[in-house]
Symmetry: C2
Subunit: 161 residues, 2 copies
Amino acid sequence: MTTIYLVRHGIAGQFGDFENDRDRPLTPEGQGKTHRIARHLNTLNIKTELILTSPYQRAHQTAQILLKEGLSDHLETADFLEPDSNFDPLHQWLTHWPGKSLIIVGHEPNLTNTAAHLIHGTPNNNIQLKKAGIIGLETPSKGEILGRSTLFWLTPPRLLL
Amino acid sequence: MTTIYLVRHGIAGQFGDFENDRDRPLTPEGQGKTHRIARHLNTLNIKTELILTSPYQRAHQTAQILLKEGLSDHLETADFLEPDSNFDPLHQWLTHWPGKSLIIVGHEPNLTNTAAHLIHGTPNNNIQLKKAGIIGLETPSKGEILGRSTLFWLTPPRLLL
């Protein structure tokens, strides 16, 4: 069984203000809120073996804040967490990862589609994940994780601040 | 659009200690925790037009605590919220209810199946709702609510205390 926390990146700079979308950073407000949420998660004793993040600046900065606030001691980037990525490589990675707890930092609609794949076996756009929002899932201890994982948490950031 | 909060009753007396399952009350611990959660919901400015509850003692007591802590001014019971009820009468009721915000207090697996019906159009047992846990949903402003509502919140009680 693996506990997976899907975290959407915090509030970032405007699309169009940066030449390349992958370089958009968190705004000062986004950084502040993400720090506060990370501290709150710390008070809930959330500690994971790894933070896996999209390499895009706004996600990577969010992941670094979670690392700095002590939610994990390890951070890795994964190209298959970039926006508009197909779910298959993440599915393969999750199926073979031997750890017990993990934070994934990425983008929408990838994250809610990942959750829907794990819970229902199909994508779905009826789960709402705001910026710096969190989804908590548990995969089964054996066998296929698609459609067989459990959703135990979904929270908008305003309910964590 | 209606905002629906599904709340599972708090910790209740042991099955078997009461002649009729519908009479099992909340334990003192269940009452205390439910009060604390209700106060927390109040600090999040959750205020609804109606609390609709299963008539079973453990649910009705939970609903009365939510009422007392100010989460609504109105409380009604509905037989179609009893354990093992079919989703159809609740579906009909929700489709015709004209209000904008509602708390439903009931039992498992009815509540998570209600959520799955609203989000995906089908029941599903991969959503975990602990006692005194909460699910937040928004139905669309027009048309069919099945498979077209949005899940924005799911929280175990330990993350609210």
